[in-house]
Symmetry: C2
Subunit: 455 residues, 2 copies
């Protein structure tokens, strides 16, 4: 059991997970709990997912991405210390070591510790990888750095390395800023979280937007001049550029936790129970991009660094710390993005995921429209559904299409959540009117196709 009435909570990391935990705990316990948050950067509670849209110009300023500033949190009684970096955790003593904005080091004791240290962009171990003009995109500071470069260096060309969520979003952002954009991906197709034949359609659509998509290409290094990147060296020759965005993923930021002796999972993140208690300890919690999450479909640990989980896990941690019963029930790996006018979404397992998990699965792909076909704003969409042969359970769905297509993934996510068979999904009661759907909802048309594939 946890310490029954903690008096001081120390949170490391002031973004989604950390501040959600701090807020939920403080709101529940009020004056009975002191909450201190140590945040390395300047901002708290911001939408990291919004950074590409800030860079693109869709969002006017960093402030727009900030849900709650340090001042606002302080007004709610939370002692937020920005530009303050935790440098050590002493689990036995129950104490954090931190370096403040003026460089001084302090020791801060805690009754409960909450780790919301997030993730760091993976930087390839290649020549030139630390040159100026090469950016990861994970914090508002990163976004500000990219924007500053756009202003001061007026780049004309950009290379985006990696074709995942951040990669395609930053490719769009650079296109919107008028740059000539090349996307380089080591895989055969971009958006490797989708099956390759859907990735191929995304590649074609991106080419249509003027993005030079080079797949199956390995980055071997970065050519620099005066410490600044000027070309990306690849297995198929150099690509001259003024700016590089790294979109090859992130890894859990767990250095402090690991140094303190907290055990890591196979995927490099912290492991928690459903209350977000860390490594079997009653007084240490973790949430957000630094933890692994339970995959409800594969029934195994997974790593899905997304703001939506960070907020929910943070809230669960905060409520748990405050002595309330709260559980984070796991994920079904729902994800959504867009690149220009192409919407992309997925939930659950792809056909490839299912095979990798050793499941005997069938897949069905349909081409349909977002609304009744005769409706004037009807847009094309492709929906692929995967189902398990043994118990006919829906395993996953992938969608690409135009406006109104991607949000359909929520129907699929809910079906996955409740472990519906594709047979049952066919007959669920989804909304129908011509401006909103075909009479058989696209999800149900796909479910029918999956039923046929199973029969």
């Amino acid at each position: 059991m946890q310490v029954s009435s903690p008096q001081r909570l120390v949170v490391i990391g002031g973004d989604a997970a950390g501040m959600s935990a701090a807020s939920a705990a403080k709101q529940t316990l009020g004056d009975a709990l002191d909450v201190i948050v140590l945040e390395r950067g300047r901002w708290t509670s911001y939408s990291a997912c919004g950074i590409p849209y800030w860079v693109a110009g869709d969002v006017p300023s960093a402030d727009a991405l900030v849900a709650r500033s340090p001042q606002e949190h302080r007004r709610r009684g939370i002692d937020v210390r920005v530009r303050t970096e935790a440098t050590g955790i002493d689990l036995d003593a129950g104490r954090i070591e931190a370096r403040g904005p003026r460089g001084g080091t302090s020791r801060i004791p805690y009754d409960v510790l909450m780790l919301g240290t997030g993730a760091v962009p993976i930087r390839p171990d290649l020549p030139g990888a630390v040159a100026e003009g090469i950016f990861g995109v994970q914090t508002l500071e990163h976004g500000a750095a990219v924007l500053e470069t756009l202003q001061t260096h007026q780049p004309r060309r950009a290379v985006v390395v990696g074709g995942g969520y951040i990669g395609v979003e930053m490719a769009e952002a650079c296109v919107r800023r008028g740059l000539r954009v090349t996307l380089v991906d080591q895989a055969e197709q971009p958006m490797g979280t989708l099956d390759p034949e859907l990735g191929a359609r995304i590649a074609v659509a991106m080419e249509g937007m003027g993005i030079d998509v080079r797949t199956g290409v390995e980055v071997t290094g970065f050519d620099c001049a005066a410490g600044r990147v000027r070309a990306v060296a690849t297995s198929e020759g150099a690509i001259e550029t003024d700016l590089v965005v790294l979109g090859i993923g992130v890894r859990p930021e767990v250095r402090l936790a690991a140094d303190a002796g907290l055990r890591l999972g196979r995927l490099g993140g912290l492991r928690t129970d459903a209350s977000m208690r860390c490594d079997g300890r009653d007084e240490v919690y973790a949430a957000g991009d630094c933890v692994e999450s339970w995959d409800r479909i594969r029934e195994d640990w997974t790593y899905v660094p997304l703001g939506t989980h960070a907020n929910k896990q943070g809230r669960v941690a905060g409520l748990s710390i405050a002595g309330q019963r709260a559980r984070f029930p796991g994920v079904v790996a729902t994800g959504v993005t867009k690149v220009c006018n192409l919407e992309i979404a997925r939930a659950g397992l792809t056909e490839r995921d299912a095979a990798a998990a050793g499941m005997d699965a069938v897949a069905a792909t349909i081409e349909t429209t977002t609304t009744a076909g005769y409706w004037p704003t009807s847009e094309p969409m492709v929906l692929k559904m995967v189902a398990r042969r043994s118990d006919r359970r829906m395993l996953g769905a992938q969608i690409i299409g135009h406006q109104g297509a991607a949000i359909r993934i929520d129907t699929c996510a809910m079906a996955l959540w409740s472990a519906l068979t594709v047979d049952e999904l066919v007959y669920t009661d989804l909304a129908y009117a011509p401006p909103f759907s075909s009479v058989w909802d696209p999800v149900q048309v796909a479910a029918r196709a999956a039923v046929s594939a199973l029969d």
Copy 2:
């Protein structure tokens, strides 16, 4: 058990339910089954829900609303007989009496009978209610009649009686055709399938579109000149008009079935089992607007005449007739519509429904946005969620808002389908990216508010 291998299926009614049954049975049994469909009108398999949009001009022609014409069905081996009206059912003899396009009467024996007779618009029993210029809107023939009147009589004013789905959709259609529109509703608010405070918002929005909304007003008759309507008499005076649209609901078309001795439910529709077998008989099936459906939440019969159920029930009937195992699992009363740019959706029980069903429920209403608040195309939306106090189960949701709001009802419908508690709904894995959602999805923000209301 049903007749194990029927040789002749006769279907009465060639729209969604009837043709879905005919198609599913024929596709499964092929040449082993003769399928005869008797359709009173000229069209088959059409989107009745699309009629208001055809009248509005969004859809160019009746043909666009026809998913499959009689000719197309015939090419698939179904003997479709249009302009042919069933006039009697002899259950003991297993025989239908029908009148063909030239007036001759024929007797058609069947092994299995499928009733897809649909619904008829309710016409008030009031003076003048059968005058010319007064229209119900249920079949393509009705839509054609309204359009013909628009062309030949060039009406300038329209009165829509009733503020339900058809009422608000036809009000929009008339606005789009340049008419001055008055909507008269006996209830205190339009859209009586939503709670009244949401209905009030819809009324305000419709007023903003130039529609004169008169609620709490009873229609007492219709003034006519030369057999043509020229004013609607109401409890608050006469409203001059050139055209009247009745949107006061429909009732199951069960005259033939009742005459034949088939038992009706409390709501006036046919009762079937989950295979769509009618009244305990092995050789009679029914589906669509002529049947009552099982409400999974109230665990009672309900009447929801919608094309989506007609298609699904028809398919279940057809598969069952063909000897396959198929079940229609009931409804959660999901509905969606729009009036001009206002989207309206509901699923499950309203607060008023829950009270009427004797359930102790709480409700929470949130005002939010369709996407991240900082996203440029973010639109306002209101979401009301109802939950049961005893077991914290979500009971229903209602949404009004602008583009992208209403489709969220599908998430709610899926939660209702799987009987989720609001607590669980808070932590489900819905898609998040700024162009698609706030980081806490609107549905989850509402679920959190419901949790607070329960605590």
